[in-house]
Structure formats: C-alpha cells, structure tokens
Symmetry: none
C-alpha cells in the first residue's frame, strides 16, 4: 500500500524550521510495515491544490500536515473539499470542544476559529488533545470515484504525534491488506561506536535469511534496527542481546533516561544530579520521564564556581588548586549532591562545552563525570568530546546516565515491601 | 525565478535521518532573494525519474541531492542524462581528482568509483572538497528545448553545504533576473495566542500592498513572518513592534533564552533558576546559549520536597501548609535560589506536569511561577496548562523565561565599566 506525505508550511521552506515530518511518518509507518513512497513540501496556501491532484491517482493513502489552523493562510480543508467536490458543513461538536478548550485556558475564542469546525461530507473528525485544530479522515472512494484515504493533520509536532499514534495508526492498521506481518525491533546500544557494534554482531546477523538490518548512530548511542518476520527478528534479537550484553540500553525503544528511572523505581532507589557543563540537560531528560519524581530527588546546576561551593560544599580551595574541570571537583560535586539531597546515587559533570574556555592542558571537549553510590564511595572518569556545544552536552549526558544505569542495574532489587532508606 | 528541490535517499523516508536539506536550501537561497517552491523526497533509485520529468516543465531551477555516489542505487546522473537525452562521457580530470583523494587517505579506489567520473554533455563539474562524488551543473536549454538549470549535488550535508555556498550560489546569482530584492523578517511574540496576535495586527498588515504575511504558533510563542521588499517589510515591522510592544521577544530570529542571556550580559546582571515541575528544562535552555556562564550562576532542580528545604531553605512547614504546588512555595524557591547563588534575579517553577499527581483543587497543568528581583522582592503568578507532560514543561519554561525577560529589560543598562555587584 502506497503512502504519500504532503507537508504544507512556508516556514518549512524558508530555512527556519527543519521538517521532521518525513522522519516521523517514516518511523511510525514502518512499525506497521508501511513505507513513504514520496514526501512533498509546499508553501502555505494554494500550491497544495496541484500536489493533491497529482497524488490522487497515484497513491492509496495521503497524509497532509498543516494548513488547518485558524488564520487566513490555512486553507487545506477548503482545497481538499474543492478538489474532491465535497460540501463542507459546520460541526457543532467540534465547535463545542474548541470552546471548552479556550474556556479552560481562560482565552477568548475568535470568530475565525469557527473555520476549524467545518467538516467535509464523509469525513471523520480526529479530536486534537493538544491544540484547537481537529484532524480529519476522509475514507477512500468519494463521489463515486476511487480516491485515496486522506488524512488532514495538524502541523505542530506536539499535536501531530499523539494524534497520529493514537488515532491515525489504528485506522491505517484497519485498512491494511492482509499478509503484511513485519516486525520492527530497535535495540539501543551505549558505550560502543557504530563500526564496533557492526564488528561484533554484523556477521551473524547478515547470515539470517529474511532479516533487514540497519544501524543508526546517534550522539552517544547506536540503534540496531531489525526488520522481518517475527521468528527471524526474534532470532536476530537474541544474538544482539547475547553479544552486546550490558551495552544494550533497551530492546523496546525506551530511551536511556527511561531505563534509568525504571531501574531506580523498581529498586525503590533515588538519585540526584550535579551538573556544570551539561547545564541541566541530564536532569531535564530524567524528569521528562513520567513518574520521575519517585526516583529523582534533586538536580544542581552549579555553573558558577561559587555555586559549586555554596550549593554542594565543594571546597573553594579545591577548585583553585585543581580547576573546576577536574576529577576531584567531579567527585566532590557527586558527593555533595548525594549528601544535600539524601539520594542513594549521584552523578556529576564538569567540563568545557565550548566554543570558548579551553586551554592547552584542558581543551574544549574535556569532561569529567563523577559518580557516588549508596556506599558513599565516589570516583570520576575523564572523557574527551571535541565537538559542538550542543553535541557535547548530549554526549556528556549519555556518558553520565549510562554510568548511572550500569551501577543501578548492578544493585539488587529489594523484596516487595522493603524500603531502601 | 522558481526553484524546486529533489532529495533522493531511502534513509530520509525510513525515519532514522531527518531531512535538513529543505531548511538548508531555503535559508541559503533566501539570502539571494530566491525561494523553494516545492521540495520532494523520493527513495534511492528509479523514483527520481518521474519527479524530474514533472519538474522540467514547471520550474527554472532544479536542485537534486543524493544518488551520485559509487553504489548501485546511485543512478541520478544516468537518469538525468536519459531524461534529457544527453550522452555521458568519461572525464579524466574528475577521475584524477578522485584518485588523488583516495591516495591521500590511504584508501583503494574501486572499479565502481569510475562511474562518478561520467559527465553529461554540456555539464560543468563542481569539485567536491569533502567527498568523492563531484557535483554537476547543467545550464538551461538542452537539445534545442527549454530546460531548467539543473544541479546534481551530493547528499551528505558536510559535502553539500560547502559546495552549495562556494559554487552553486555564485552560479545562481549570475543567472538571476535583475530586480529581486526580498527581505524576510521573523518576529517572535510571547504572551499572546496565534489568533490574538492576528486580531491585533492582522488588519493593518493585510492592508500593506506587496507584503507576504505568515503566522506560526510554537509552544508559548507565535512567530510573525514578514516577507517583501525592504521598504514594505520595514513598514510592517514597525506596525508589529508598535502594536505588540513588550510582547515582542525578538525581531532577528533569536530565541527567548538568547534574548534573556543577552539582556543579562549587557547589564552585567546574573540569574539563578529554581525548578520543580520543569525539571531542569529552563536551566538547560539558558545554558544552551554560548556565553551563558557569564549570566547564569546556578540552577536548582528541587523535585523532592526535602530538596526544596535542604537546597533552597523552603520551610518544611510552609510546604505542609500550602502544598509544594503553591504561590508561597514558588516565592520561597525564587528567594532561596537568589540567596544561595548570589544572583541578581531568580525565577522558580512549581506545578503538576502530569500525567498523574493532580487533584480537584490543583488539577494536572496547574503552575506557579515565582520571581525575585535585585531588590529582593518576590512574587508569584498562577497559570494553567492542561496538556501533555512535554508541552507543559515547554509552556511553563516560556512563562518563567518571559517574565524574567520583561523584568531584566526593564532594568537600566549600567554605564561601561560599572559593576552591578
């Protein structure tokens, strides 16, 4: 079954916004065995008409993003109705949902929001939990002629992603022809480079017939992608898990921070974080995980030296003697974070993210990660990530979180009812 | 002059690689007054044929990325030659440059690399300083019929970007018709919804002839896009700045956190952040800005109640009496962050990000933001953002940072040489 993606949005063609829609749809559709045959981006407004007309006779599914908002350049709904010659009607339930949303937020609904309550004949409304514009699903065959299944979806990712996962994917699954039975497994690996991962597992995986194999390197981790029939993927997965053992972060798509929070929660243990160069990135990632408040007691972003002393008790003399970017300071930060917060585990980072601030002895990219465990023993490790400021924060966070993950997992799970305190 | 972009690459449609080409071309072309009218992504191999044929009669410039490498699925060169009926010939100078590159890196050139030395009649070779595949430029009009200017370019950004800037842009400038003089201005607005922004400025802006107007809503802000001749955009911009006044974050594309760090640095002032529900998101954003260490002294992610007391001195009794999510606690957190860090300004957040943890009195989405200024006076504001955990963190961070921005900007700039301490 052929899927084409049409993205409307002038901002996607002006260079200010990177279009992540193609990657998102590609990734999500793959989980049900579908692929994107073509993706097109056009500016807001009329250009979408021609692209839709071209796609109508070529594809079975069209996913359209953008142009269903309240402003004058949002005309996707009207164009689809016109191209397929379908009348639009006012839908009171859509209007009520919008009004309720506006009221809940203490905002005034404008006359122009009413346009968002217009629905074309035969379309199903897809409620939008995160915005005002509902999505629309127009099943195949309209006005007695063959047309694709057409989905009109909001452009902002925070609205699009949950709507697609919760509402569009189930519909697509329902209209899929039988016989597609692909399984896709993503295994996240830490502590090894892409070529090292391939060197360890590649030969055995390539020998499996019917397996589609892919590697994708991301900052501080490698994703191994296994696609094929369930039995084939199962066989491949057990090879990867055996050969890469504790380097495997997850085999179910979970992120490193999700694995850390789950491992802590399961053990009724807690952690704290002391960050200098990562500037809150680690704590932010940990607290992105729902339920993190059970496991993450506190984070200290001690950017200034005085803050390292005031908040974590790092001796000023130690900073003067060794420098803020040093193993002793990383150790003292981790110890301080554990002591002040009362957490079981603490990790710390201190380094030079750049672009400036480096020296010959400690160039940009130098990083010390500190760790302090439930026994109160602390240590530090040195890393070098000479890269951009952005990537440095990412890589440093991966290194610290992966250390914490390995240590927490090595801790035994407490019996039910017992407490770690 | 119309420009279309065609990206070939299966990886761009499988969800593992985000296609940054559209944003890159959009940004670069805009500097010479050109825009991308359409961008298409197709898998490697034959699908590019149809897309090129469609574009031939529609556009003056085609930029194609990908499919000019050495492997069997790299057939862009051959397809263009076939579609335009142009013979390919072997170019010894391309071959020599490749051989030299392989030798320099101590690598063996394969037989299949020879395909990369094939050049179609009339094409100019664009040397590739960062890879083996040279680009190709085929000027308009071939075989006696009107055809667009066609550029075949490498897919990897590190090869594409310098080739485009150093070789393609100068060619495009040379073939541009005179009189193109477009300016693009992005104005970021905080504290108002998209429809409210349009209600305030839409009518006056729509009355300006020759102005292209767009709105783009992001979490906690709205982007107003003004495009047109310099005089027209200038007129529109002054209307927006006047009508939206202090709601304008920036008119040069800068992010809220960049504006905050710049405003602090310019005034030689410092800030600290105390975060509960935003979990480090605010401090992480501030420290993403290069040079943030001058302005951001510390961040405290006091997730647990005990951490609020231990790290910031929030009285345990206050938490018990009012709850951790309350105005008095937000105030005490801001005061504590300012006191412990010694910063001039402090902001704080405490709220219920969800998905669980809400009550009838304080439902999921409840937020208190605290602020403490250089005079030591603190206050709190209440917000309600009933949305996903992710969006909640974003919206809460916007609310807190925007408050800080307004307060810092209201502070006078110190004379050169003076210090705020």
């Amino acid at each position: 079954m052929n899927v084409e993606v049409i993205n409307t949005g002038t901002e996607l063609l002006l260079g200010n916004t990177v279009n992540t829609h193609a990657a998102f749809f590609g990734h999500e559709l793959f989980t049900i065995g579908l692929r994107v045959a073509r993706q097109v981006t056009v500016p807001d407004g009329d250009p979408i008409r021609q692209v839709v007309q071209e796609a109508l006779s070529r594809t079975e599914v069209i996913l359209i993003t953008g142009g269903i908002g309240p402003t004058t350049d949002d005309i996707t709904r009207e164009i689809i109705a016109e191209v397929l010659d379908l009348p639009l009607h006012f839908d009171q339930s859509v209007m009520d949902a919008m009004a309720e949303r506006f009221e809940r937020r203490g905002l005034v609904m404008r006359e122009r929001n009413k346009r968002q309550a217009m629905v074309m004949r035969g379309a199903t409304v897809l409620p939008n939990a995160n915005g005002t514009a509902p999505g629309l699903y127009l099943p195949a065959h309209n006005n007695g002629r063959p047309t694709p299944h057409i989905f009109l979806l909001p452009g902002p990712p925070r609205e699009l992603h949950p709507m697609f996962r919760n509402q569009v994917l189930p519909i697509l699954r329902g209209i899929l022809p039988d016989g597609i039975d692909l399984v896709c497994r993503l295994i996240r690996v830490a502590g090894l480079g892409e070529s090292e991962v391939e060197a360890r597992v590649g030969e055995q995986l390539l020998a499996i017939e019917g397996l589609e194999l892919g590697y994708c390197a991301r900052p501080g981790e490698v994703e191994v992608r296994l696609v094929g029939a369930a039995a084939v993927v199962g066989q491949a997965e057990s090879i990867v898990l055996t050969l890469l053992s504790e380097n495997v972060i997850s085999d179910d798509g979970r992120l490193l921070e999700e694995v850390v929070v789950a491992a802590l929660t399961e053990r009724k243990r807690t952690c704290a974080v002391a960050e200098s160069c990562t500037g809150g990135h680690i704590t932010n990632r940990l607290t992105n995980v729902p339920g993190a408040s059970q496991a993450v007691l506190a984070g200290f972003v001690t950017y200034a030296n005085s803050a390292k002393t005031a908040a974590l008790g790092v001796p000023a003399q130690m900073i003067e003697e060794h420098g803020a970017v040093s193993a002793p300071v990383a150790v003292a930060m981790a110890e301080g974070a554990r002591r002040v917060s009362g957490a079981d585990f603490a990790i710390s980072t201190t380094g030079i993210a750049g672009p400036s601030g480096g020296s010959t002895e400690k160039p940009v990219g130098t990083l010390f990660v500190g760790f302090c465990g439930p026994d109160g023993v602390a240590s530090a490790r040195e890393f070098h990530f000479p890269t951009s400021r952005d990537s440095f924060k990412n890589l440093a966070a991966q290194a610290a979180l992966d250390w914490l993950r390995r240590e927490v997992i090595a801790t035994s799970v407490l019996p039910p009812g017992a407490s770690a305190v």
